[in-house]
C-alpha cells in the first residue's frame, strides 16, 4: 500500500492490521516515532494524521493509507517549528525518548488552539507519559510556543 509520509509517497508491503507505528519504524526506517506501550496509553508513538494527533501503536496501517502522515521528522525540516524552538529554549528534554510524542501532541494542540488555557494544555497532554518528569517544562514550553506564535502574527 501507499503511505503519504512527511510529504513523500512511500510504498510499503505490510499486512493491513499491522500498527502504523511498526510500519513506520520497521518498514520505512522512520524511528523518531517511539514504541512505549502498544495500547495508546503513553503517547510516545504520537504522529499527525491529516494534522490530528493519533497514537500510531493502535492504528492499523491500512487506515492511514491515503491520509497525510506526519512524524517528528516531518514537523519541520530543521527543528524550527515553534514548538521545537520553545522546547530548546525551555531546556525540556531529559532522556528524550517520549519527547517526539510530546512535541507532536503539543504541535497538534497549538494548531487547533493557538492560545490554550492551562486546563486545555493538561487535557491535550494527559495521554503523553514522561518518566523523567519533564512535565513542568513541557507545560512551560507550550506556553512559550503559544506566545511566540502570537508575537509572530
Amino acid at each position: 500500500m501507499k503511505l503519504e509520509l512527511n510529504g513523500q509517497t512511500r510504498e510499503v508491503d505490510a499486512p493491513d492490521e499491522m500498527p502504523l507505528l511498526w510500519a513506520l519504524r520497521d518498514l520505512c526506517g522512520v524511528t523518531g516515532v517511539k514504541y512505549g506501550c502498544g495500547m495508546a496509553q503513553c503517547g510516545a508513538c504520537t504522529v499527525h494524521l491529516d494534522g490530528k494527533a493519533v497514537r500510531s501503536c493502535v492504528l492499523p496501517v491500512a487506515s492511514a493509507a491515503g491520509k497525510k502522515i506526519t512524524t517528528i521528522e516531518g514537523l519541520s525540516p530543521d527543528g524550527s517549528h515553534p514548538v521545537q524552538v520553545a522546547w530548546a529554549e525551555t531546556d525540556v528534554v531529559q532522556c528524550g525518548y517520549c519527547q517526539s510524542g510530546q512535541i507532536m501532541s503539543a504541535a497538534a494542540l497549538l494548531a487547533e488552539k493557538p492560545d490554550p488555557s492551562d486546563e486545555e494544555i493538561d487535557r491535550a497532554m494527559a495521554g503523553n507519559i514522561c518518566r523523567c518528569g519533564t512535565y513542568q517544562r513541557v507545560r512551560d514550553a507550550i506556553r512559550r510556543a503559544s506566545s511566540m506564535r502570537r508575537a509572530r502574527r
Binding site: E89, D91, S100, I103, I129, R131, C132, G133, Y135
Partner: protein, 707 residues
C-alpha cells in the same frame, strides 16, 4: 594537580587524550592492562570540533552537557564546537571511585569533576605548547580565548594546532583554574543533546539498525524462576515474517523480520511451563510474613547505647509500621539489546548503565575474550537503575538469542515484559519504636527493617554486604541524621529471600527508609504537639546544612502561614548520595478521597554546583518519579504472577496530576554530592505528612490511599 600515569593517543584526527587515575578498591574489571586505542576523553580536530567522550551513559540526567562543561572550562574552547559521544566499554573509562565502568548512584559529576577538568587542562597545555613552538615564543607569553591561542595580535585556532599538538608529549602536571576564574561551572547551561532529541534524530537502542538484523521477542516464564517444560512453535512459525523460534536459557525467542511479526509469533507460541517454587508467591502473604518478621530484631546494622532498656524506661513509647510495595522502573524505552556475532567479536548496541559488568557477561556467553566485546551505547530512554543489572540479564539474553539464531538480532521487550519482568525495587516493611522524653524528643529508637537484599549473591556482595547487612537495605535509616540526637538506638535488618529479582531503583534504599523515618519523626512531632518544622529543628540543631535546607523549603512554601482553604502542608528532609534535600508538599483531598499534590517546594544542598539548570530538572524529575510511586505505584503478585502489565494498571503520574515544583539550590562548600536521585526519597513522606495534617489520618503504606 598531578597525574600519576597517562597515555596520550595519537591519531590522524588530531589530539586525543586518555589517562588513568590511580584507584583503590578496584572491583572486577575485565582487563588488567588498559587497551590503548579508543580510550580518549577529548578529541580536538582540524575542523575545529572538540569531541568529548563520556565514560558514563546519558539517560536523561544531563551529563552529556555537564561533563562537557568540565572539559570546556579548562580547555577554553568554543562551546558551540563541542560534540559529545559515548565512550566504548574499556578499562580507561572505569569509574574513578568504583573501578568499574558504570553509571549510577548519582556519582557521575562528582566522580568526574577532577578527571574531566584535568583532561581539558592537559589538552589546553599541549595546544599552547604547539602554538609556542610555531611562534618560537615561550608558552607563558600566550593565552587562550574560546578556541584560539593568542599571542599579541596574532592567533591560531585549536583546529590549526591540533595536529602539531598531537605530536607533543603531555605535561607532567597541570594547574587547574581557581574557582574565581570559572566561566562555565556554576552557570545555567542548556543541554547539548536537545537538537537531536527534538527532531527525532537521537538514536536509542531500540532504533538501532544493523545489516541483516532481525527482531526477536522472548517468551519468558510468567513465574519468576520458572522453566520451559515443552513448547509447540508450529503456529508461531506459520506467522508471516517469523523466521526462527529458538530456545535459550531465559525462554523461547521468536525471531522475525520485524517487531510486529515477532509479537504475533510469540502470541502464537504454546508453552508448558514448570513454574517452580515461585508459583507460591503472593504479595499479600509476603507482606504478612514481613510484618511477622519485623516483630523480632534482625541482624544488627547500627547501634548506640541500650535501646531496649531505654525503651522500657521511656516516659512515653510510640510505635509504627510502614510498608512499601514492589515497584517497576517503567523506563519509557523498554529494554532492548542488539547483538552481532562475527569474526570472533561480539558487537552489542544497547542502552546500558553497566558497561564493565555487561562486557564480562557477554564475553562469557559469546565465548570470546572481554576485549572482543564491543559495546556501542546509544542514548538511554531512561535508566533509573533498571539498566544497571547485576546479572546483565538483558545483555546476556541478547547474546544468547543472536548465538542461537545465527544472525544479528535485536531483542525487544514489550511494555508487558517490562512491567512483569521483575528487577523491582523490593517490597519492604519497617517497624519503628521510639521512646520519648517529656518534651516529646526521642531518647530511644528501635528500628527493624525487613526486605530483600539487592546485593547479596551478586559480585558486589563482598564490597557492600558486611556481617549479613546489605548497607543499601538500611541506607538512610541506620545513618539517619536524626539519630545523632537519640541517646540509645538500634537498627536491625531481616533480609528474606524469594524468587523476585530485586534491583536498584532511583534512590535505592532511601526510597523506603526516608518514608519510614520521616513519617515517624512527623508522628513524634504531632504526638508532642509541636510544629513539625520546629520539632525537626530541635533534633537537627547541630546539622546546619539540614537546617538550612529545611528552612529554605519551608519559607518558600509559606510554612507557618495558612494554606489555601482545603489544603495542608507536610515536610521532609533527607540526606542521600551526599546531598541534602528538603521538600514541602501542599495537598488537598477530593470528594473521592484522592490525594492531589498542588505544590512542592524543594531546597537542595549538593555542594558545588556545576549546572543549575540541570539540577533543577533533576530535582523536578525526581519529585515526579517519587510522587508516581507515592500515589500510584505498586507491583503485586498472585500465585506467582504479576498482576499489572502496562500503564493502565501500573499507573504513573500524568501531566494533570503533576504539581508545580520549585527548586532552590543552596550552594555550599561541602563536598560535591549527587543530584539524580536524592530528591526522589523525601516526597512520599512529605505528602503523607501533609495528608495527616489535613485529615488526621496517618498513612503508613505506599502507595498512599485514604480510606
Amino acid at each position: 594537580m598531578t597525574l600519576s600515569r597517562r597515555d596520550v593517543l595519537v591519531s590522524g584526527a588530531g589530539l586525543l587524550i586518555a589517562f588513568h587515575v590511580p584507584r583503590k578498591g578496584r572491583a572486577a574489571q575485565m582487563d588488567k592492562k588498559p587497551s590503548v586505542d579508543p580510550n580518549a576523553f577529548v578529541r580536538v580536530a582540524p575542523d575545529e570540533s572538540v569531541t568529548v567522550l563520556l565514560a558514563h551513559s546519558e539517560m536523561g540526567q544531563g551529563i552529556w552537557t555537564t561533563l562537557a562543561m568540565l572539559i570546556a572550562e579548562e580547555l577554553d574552547c568554543d562551546w558551540s564546537k563541542i560534540r559529545v559521544e559515548h565512550a566504548p566499554a574499556a578499562p580507561a573509562y572505569a569509574h574513578t571511585a568504583y573501578g568499574l565502568q558504570m553509571t549510577g548512584g548519582s556519582t557521575t559529576t562528582w566522580s568526574e569533576f577532577d578527571r574531566y577538568r584535568i583532561v581539558g587542562a592537559m589538552a589546553r597545555a599541549m595546544l599552547l605548547r604547539a602554538a609556542a613552538e610555531r611562534w618560537k615564543v615561550r608558552p607563558r607569553s600566550l593565552r587562550t580565548e574560546s578556541g584560539f591561542v593568542v599571542h599579541r595580535t596574532e592567533q591560531l585556532s585549536y583546529g590549526q594546532l591540533a595536529e602539531a599538538a598531537q605530536r607533543l608529549s603531555p605535561p607532567a602536571s597541570v594547574e587547574l583554574k581557581p574557582k574565581k576564574d570559572w566561566k562555565l561551572i556554576g552557570k545555567p547551561m542548556r543541554r547539548l543533546d536537545t537538537p537531536e532529541k527534538i527532531t527525532g534524530k537521537a538514536q536509542f537502542g531500540i532504533d538501532v539498525q544493523v545489516p541483516a538484523m532481525r527482531t526477536a521477542l522472548v517468551a519468558r516464564s510468567p513465574v519468576f524462576g520458572g522453566k520451559v517444560k515443552s513448547f509447540d512453535a508450529s503456529k508461531a512459525r506459520a506467522v508471516p515474517g517469523v523466521e526462527q523460534v529458538v530456545q535459550m536459557p531465559s525462554g523461547i525467542a521468536v525471531v522475525a523480520t520485524n517487531f510486529w511479526s515477532a509479537k504475533l509469533g510469540r502470541d502464537a507460541l504454546q508453552i508448558d511451563w514448570d513454574p517452580g517454587a515461585g508459583a507460591e508467591l503472593d504479595t499479600g502473604k509476603l507482606l504478612a510474613s514481613y510484618r511477622e518478621l519485623a516483630k523480632a530484631p534482625g541482624t544488627l546494622a547500627a547501634a548506640k547505647g541500650d535501646a531496649d532498656a531505654a525503651l522500657v524506661g521511656a516516659a512515653r513509647r510510640l510505635e509504627a509500621e510502614y510498608d512499601v510495595p514492589y515497584l517497576a522502573h517503567a523506563t519509557m524505552e523498554p529494554l532492548n539489546c542488539t547483538v552481532r556475532l562475527e569474526g570472533g567479536r561480539c558487537e552489542i548496541w544497547t542502552g546500558t548503565q553497566f558497561h564493565g559488568v555487561d562486557q564480562m557477561a557477554a564475553a562469557q556467553v559469546a565465548g570470546v575474550p572481554p576485549q572482543n566485546v564491543i559495546i556501542h551505547t546509544p542514548f538511554l530512554g531512561g535508566g533509573f537503575g533498571r539498566r544497571a543489572t547485576l546479572d546483565s540479564h538483558f545483555v546476556a539474553e541478547g547474546v544468547h538469542v543472536a548465538k542461537a539464531a545465527g544472525v544479528p538480532v535485536k531483542v525487544v521487550w514489550t511494555r508487558e515484559d517490562d512491567i512483569r519482568g521483575g528487577h523491582y525495587r523490593p517490597m519492604y516493611v519497617h517497624r519503628i519504636e521510639a521512646g520519648v522524653d517529656e518534651k516529646g524528643l526521642p531518647q530511644a529508637w528501635r528500628h527493624t527493617v525487613v526486605g530483600q537484599s539487592i546485593l547479596t549473591g551478586t559480585l558486589f556482595e563482598k564490597f557492600a554486604v558486611k556481617d549479613g547487612v546489605d548497607a543499601q537495605s538500611v541506607e538512610g535509616a541506620a545513618d539517619s541524621p536524626y539519630l545523632d540526637a537519640v541517646a540509645a538506638r538500634k537498627i536491625t535488618l531481616h533480609s528474606p529471600r524469594n524468587q523476585v529479582p530485586p534491583q536498584w531503583w532511583r534512590s535505592v534504599g532511601n526510597s523506603h527508609t526516608a518514608f519510614a523515618v520521616e513519617s515517624m519523626i512527623d508522628e513524634l512531632a504531632w504526638a508532642a504537639r509541636r510544629d513539625p518544622l520546629e520539632f525537626r529543628g530541635a533534633l537537627l540543631a547541630d546539622k546546619p546544612r539540614h537546617l538550612r535546607a529545611l528552612e529554605a523549603a519551608a519559607t518558600s512554601a509559606g510554612w507557618g502561614t495558612a494554606p489555601p482553604e482545603g489544603r495542608a502542608r507536610g515536610l521532609a528532609v533527607h540526606d542521600s548520595f551526599g546531598s541534602i534535600v528538603a521538600e514541602v508538599a501542599e495537598v488537598s483531598v477530593d470528594a473521592r478521597k484522592r490525594i492531589r499534590v498542588h505544590k512542592v517546594s524543594c531546597a537542595v544542598d549538593c555542594g558545588q554546583v556545576v549546572n543549575p539548570l540541570g539540577i533543577e530538572a533533576q530535582v523536578q524529575g525526581a519529585v515526579v518519579f517519587g510522587l508516581s510511586a507515592a500515589l500510584l505505584g505498586a507491583v503485586t503478585l498472585k500465585e506467582g504472577r504479576v498482576e499489572q502489565s502496562n500503564f493502565h494498571d501500573y499507573r504513573v503520574l500524568r501531566m494533570p496530576e503533576v504539581p508545580d515544583v520549585t527548586v532552590q539550590i543552596l550552594e555550599s562548600d561541602a563536598k560535591m554530592g549527587g543530584i539524580g536521585e536524592p530528591a526522589t526519597a523525601p516526597i512520599a513522606p512529605a505528602v503523607a505528612n501533609a495528608v495527616y495534617a489535613l485529615t488526621r489520618q496517618r498513612l503508613r503504606s505506599l502507595p498512599l490511599r485514604l480510606t
